[in-house]
């Protein structure tokens, strides 16, 4: 078995599992956020006639998509969620302190865990060796009740990445490149497993970016073997780290793709699909109206640090507005202590409280018709952030910062 099958087998109470098999897995956590939770609450209370969730320590609720609320409807949604959380005496109700996936990484997920979340980017925690995947509100409501969920054991695709990282090229560029190659449906129902020298050389934060975007190729799981860096991360977060689950010698993969980052250039995904990807050079000079630095993809301290280094002592173009949203309060605090927030403000950017912010058209930073947004988030679907007649381009934090300086898409290698 490969490591993914082993984790599934362990949670299904089986010795072995094989791809295609449908099994029930016991869940370590069930996460839900404010974009979809009220539907789960309705299903749980009205349809399933649920009284108590299976474990109040394992059901995590996060308000992040609509925080701080900008409509009465959103405020009502939050009110319903808080009430449910209190009635169920849940131990973890996060309210306006960060994006759900970051909070799961900071406070909950562990290597070897099996976690589901009512959010498609739940596949993120594979970066630290947890198996995690997104599901809908009814699945989540059933999971709240049963503490388990059915799953089809996926075939796995291995992505082997070699080479040394060139200056100005980051994990976001690799993520976009891989999705462009696989296409938006290339990994549907499958698991993506990343390995190789270039993966080992990544920080945990960069690995998170890559796994976060696995769903953009349709993947059920994105996974990386945890290592010393993950061990240190877990220690820093004050949590335990169990011995690693390795592939068996006979581990099988459906296919293996190889990449070498040495010749990789900064990449851009252009409207309106994440798999429409080209090298940045094809868009160099394209004028933009708004830059967003944030989201569970690229709103961590390391991302802000890269952007701040580019913006330090400079002013962003008066043709753009830039919004910076740290992904969590912990990131915000650290960025503040290290002077990054001051750098952003001095450069002319806006800094908002943590949350999904302009990744999602639920709160702030919406664009108008005909406007172009360059964002470090993970989706460029039509109308995702404001007007359906606007355009969304995806890029790395370095590209975002360099482009903010000039008001047009700019190769970060020119300014670092």
């Amino acid at each position: 078995m490969n490591a993914i099958e082993k984790i599934i087998a362990a949670h299904a109470g089986l010795k072995t599992v094989k791809p295609g098999q449908i099994v029930d897995v016991n869940l370590d956590y069930v996460m839900a956020n404010d974009a979809t939770t009220t539907l789960s609450i309705d299903v749980f209370q009205k349809e399933l006639k649920g009284e108590r969730v299976f474990d109040r320590e394992k059901v995590v609720l996060v308000m992040d998509h609509y925080t701080p609320c900008c409509s009465v409807d959103a405020a009502e949604t939050h009110k319903k969620m808080r009430q449910f959380g209190r009635d169920q005496e849940l131990s973890y109700i996060y309210d306006g302190v960060g994006v759900c996936h970051q909070l799961m990484l900071e406070h909950h997920a562990k290597p070897g865990d099996f976690i589901i979340g009512a959010d498609s980017h739940t596949c993120t925690y594979g970066a630290i060796g947890a198996l995690s995947t997104g599901m809908g509100s009814t699945d989540v409501a059933v999971a709240w009740m049963e503490g388990k969920v059915w799953i089809k054991v996926p075939f796995a695709i291995k992505i082997r990445v070699s080479g040394k990282w060139p200056k100005g090229v980051y994990s976001k560029d690799l993520a976009l490149k891989v999705i462009g190659d696989l296409t938006a449906k290339g990994a549907t129902y499958k698991a993506l497993v990343f390995e190789g020298e270039a993966i080992r050389d990544m920080t945990v934060s960069e690995r998170v970016t890559l796994c976060n975007m696995g769903i953009e190729a349709g993947a059920k799981f994105a996974y990386m073997q945890p290592d010393e860096k993950v061990k240190t991360f877990m220690k820093d977060m004050g949590r335990e780290y169990d011995p690693v689950i390795e592939d068996d010698d006979d581990a099988s993969y459906e296919w293996i793709l190889t990449y070498d980052v040495e010749n990789l250039e900064p990449q851009i995904a252009y409207p309106n699909s994440v798999d429409q990807v080209k090298s940045l050079s094809d868009f160099e000079g394209l004028e933009i109206d708004e830059v967003f630095l944030g989201a569970c993809t690229n709103g961590r301290f390391e991302d802000l640090e890269i952007a701040a280094a580019i913006l330090k002592g400079k002013k962003i173009s008066d043709k753009v507005r830039m919004l910076v949203t740290p992904v969590s309060n912990a990131v915000y605090m650290k960025a503040m202590e290290r002077g990054l927030i001051g750098t952003f403000i001095e450069s002319g950017a806006m800094v908002s409280p943590p949350g999904c912010s302009a990744c999602f058209g639920g709160t702030i930073g919406l664009i108008g018709p005909g406007e172009r947004l360059l964002t470090t988030a993970n989706r460029n679907f039509k109308g995702r952030v404001g007007s359906p007649d606007g355009e969304i381009y995806l890029a790395s934090p370095a590209t975002a910062a360099a482009s903010a300086l000039y008001g047009k898409i700019t190769d970060p290698r020119k300014v670092i």
Binding site: Y66, A118, T138, K185, T188, G218, G362, F381
Partner: protein, 173 residues
């Protein structure tokens, strides 16, 4: 057996197109449903309850929002046909009892075509063009959930069989 006209879409119909993010905070599906596909002329102008929706590859990609299949169901979509579906959408639709039909030749179906779907026989009859298209059958486990009208009823039904006993977990049924 379902007989209705088709509202046609292309590849990669994402959940933001089906139902844009800003409406997810409304509290009921009934309130959200009027905004279904609001930027798509094909749907906004031509849809009548009972119609079939047809996409090509990767229908329902993007977010996990169950509101996407739920608004289709609420608006009275009788079935969604596509060459392939995104994983979470697929699961969500089956869970709420919305009929999904995988058909290798979905790209041959055009906007306005009148179709007859016979899931049991595994065939779509395109009445407009007078040809038959084969359906990829659902895995039996999912067919059973769909037959019950969704996962909640599936669990309920099973509970009924053990009346008075403690509810069975999914794995035991």
């Amino acid at each position: 057996m379902i007989k209705a006209k088709t509202i046609k879409f292309g590849d990669n119909v994402d959940t933001d197109q089906i139902i844009p993010a800003q409406y997810l905070s409304l509290s009921t599906i009934q309130q959200i449903a009027p905004h279904t596909f609001e930027f798509h002329g094909n749907f906004a102008n031509d849809f009548k309850p009972g119609d079939i929706i047809c996409g090509n590859d990767n229908f329902g990609c993007g977010s996990s929002r169950e509101q996407a299949p739920a608004v289709l169901q609420e608006r009275g979509v009788s079935a969604v046909i596509a060459r392939s579906f995104a994983r979470i959408f697929y699961r969500n639709a089956i869970n709420i009892g919305l009929l999904l039909v995988e058909c290798e030749k979905a790209d041959e179906i055009r906007h306005g075509d009148v179709l007859e779907i016979d899931p049991q026989k595994g065939v779509i009859r395109n009445i407009t063009t007078d040809c038959n298209l084969e359906i990829t059958p659902l895995p039996p486990f999912m067919q059973e959930i769909l037959n019950c009208g969704g996962i909640v009823k599936y669990i309920d039904n099973r509970r009924g069989q053990y009346d008075g006993l403690e509810c069975k977990s999914i794995s035991e049924i």
